[in-house]
């Protein structure tokens, strides 16, 4: 967010030395929110590497007193997490290229100067942001196409994100006209302009949007929950959901019947499940964050 910090540096050039109550409130507010987000995640990670006794000694731990992998060993005993990784990974691997193909081609097409039908096409696209048929007809459509219980159902239904398409379109739109015009005068067709000029100049937005899509595919659970029944094709998010819910239930049963908890530290296993679910997002996030240009969002809200 280097771009956003510029104006404040400029505007307070004169009063840089003075620290007023505004500074204190602003920093305190932002720091509080930061800690409120950071601490729970650190706690989750710490507990996932801790033993049960350590946890009950200090549940608010930010660092495990002794480091153990037993929770993760327990977690990977059944294949559920691996199944989840395979499914969500497949969704991302097949879904993101489709997303990018549909997004870039439509975005480029709608960013070009006026041609017959352009307004209609934009209306068709934008209307879907405000009105939809809902999940039931989509479900019936997928059923009619005999795609229930396949990953294809989820991949196809999430083929294009209107918001992301508009981000890319606005970026193309803002590219200097003179470049495209001179290419046209030199006899370049639309394909050449797209491949040789528009795409190479748009790498930041293409990277941002493909990471948006990547995270979306990784976070998929709702459509998968409705379309996919077999446990072999459960997405990672739904695996996590079932681990959280099932373990809650076994906890209740165990405490009700006063069976001692054997070797297993349920909360630790659950925290491990959270960690392995968010790990890929944590790896991708720094790259995603790098590309938040100020223009990326601002053009998007008014089209």
């Amino acid at each position: 967010m280097a771009a956003a910090s510029k104006p404040s540096r400029l505007s307070y050039r004169l009063s840089r030395a003075r620290v007023s109550y505004v500074d204190v409130i602003a920093v305190a507010f932002a720091a509080l929110l930061t800690l409120a987000i950071l601490v729970p995640f650190i706690n989750v990670i710490a507990v996932s590497f801790a033993s049960q006794t350590a946890y009950y000694n200090n549940r608010f731990m930010l660092f495990p007193p002794e480091f153990t992998l037993s929770n993760y060993k327990e977690l990977f005993k059944d294949n559920r997490i691996l199944t989840g990784y395979r499914t969500s990974g497949t969704l991302a691997l097949l879904g993101v290229p489709l997303n990018m193909f549909l997004t870039v081609s439509l975005a480029y097409g709608t960013s070009r100067p006026a041609y017959p039908g352009k307004k209609l096409i934009m209306f068709i696209v934008l209307f879907t942001m405000f009105f939809s048929g809902g999940i039931i007809p989509l479900y019936l459509l997928i059923k009619g196409m005999r795609l229930t219980d396949t990953l294809a159902s989820v991949i196809l239904c999430t083929g294009l994100g209107t918001f992301n398409m508009i981000l890319v379109r606005n970026y193309f739109y803002a590219l200097p006209d003179s470049l495209m015009e001179s290419a046209k005068l030199d006899g370049a067709g639309e394909w050449r302009i797209l491949l040789r000029i528009a795409l190479p100049l748009s790498l930041p937005i293409l990277a941002t949007v493909s990471l948006f899509y990547l995270v979306d595919r990784w976070n998929e659970w709702y459509l998968a929950m409705i379309f996919i029944r077999s446990t072999k094709k459960t997405t990672l998010q739904l695996v996590l959901r079932s681990i959280m819910l099932v373990n809650q239930m076994t906890n209740a049963i165990q405490s009700a019947t006063a069976i001692d908890q054997l070797q297993r530290f349920d909360i630790g296993v659950r925290m491990g499940a959270i960690v392995v679910t968010i790990l890929p997002v944590m790896c991708v996030f720094p790259f995603l964050q790098k590309h938040f240009a100020k223009g990326v969002m601002v053009g998007a809200i008014k089209t």
Binding site: M1, S8, V47, S105, G133, L156
Partner: protein
Amino acid sequence: MTGSRRSPRGGLARLSRDIWKSRVIYMLVLPGLLWYALFVYAPMGGLTLAFKAYRANKGIMGSPWVGLANFQNVFRDPTFPKVIARTLWINLGRLCFEFPMPVLLALMLNEIRMPRCKKVMQTVMTFPNFLSWVVVSSVLTALLSMQGPLNSVIERLGGKAVPFLGNAKIFLPMLYVSSNWKSMGWSSIIYLAAIAGVDQEQYEAAEIDGASRMQRITRITLPNILPTVSVMLILAMGGIMSGGFDQIFNLSNAATKDVSEVLDIYIYRITFQSPPDFGFSMAISLFRSAVNLALLLIADRGAKMMGGSGLIG
């Protein structure tokens, strides 16, 4: 360019020439438009089910028309008005307690004069937005459970453990808090971008005139980002009948189900958990979409009437 002298015939010829000239563009938009046709507009056609009695063996097209019978059933359903009231109440709360927070955060972040520190904080703040509600609710459930870390601190300080997520009375505040926790940082980026676009001379002039920092925030920054706020508010109005499905589906439990069943959850429950009556569900869905669209348009008109910038046109 020479439109005044052009005959209708010539117009047609020119149109077909223009279309031919743009053939590559049509080829490019075709896959995307096909996708919209198949996966967005074809299902929209399924909204006709709201006026039909769905028969699985006959499909959407073949099922018999029943007029407004589904709607009559919806409005006779005793749960329906309760669900509507609950949805409106929750979303009204969202407008009061969720909508202003990113604006406030953006104003605060803009006042922080330590760029490094600010960047780190912003990185942390935007992170939860990229997690699903499944993950966020898992983290929050772990943090807030009766034997969880937060309650252990409360107990150590001499307080009594609070059932944060298992108490119907505080469920709505928990919704607002958790929503803000997840997306406040991300949503503030839009406003920060708007602030970055404010003309710097205004600040310099104010500084010379001796305006205090608070005055500069309320008299310059805030009025300058109001158009953005207005657009976001219009968009929020378009979601007044829906929203929060992922969050409520994952955060609610047996203890809070009486206060948490909003329209989207209700539609899900009657469609996928009990023996489904698709006509009935679709009537409710259509009602929801129509109200959302109507409110969006009304808010848009209203914003324009008050001299603000609208969303459409």
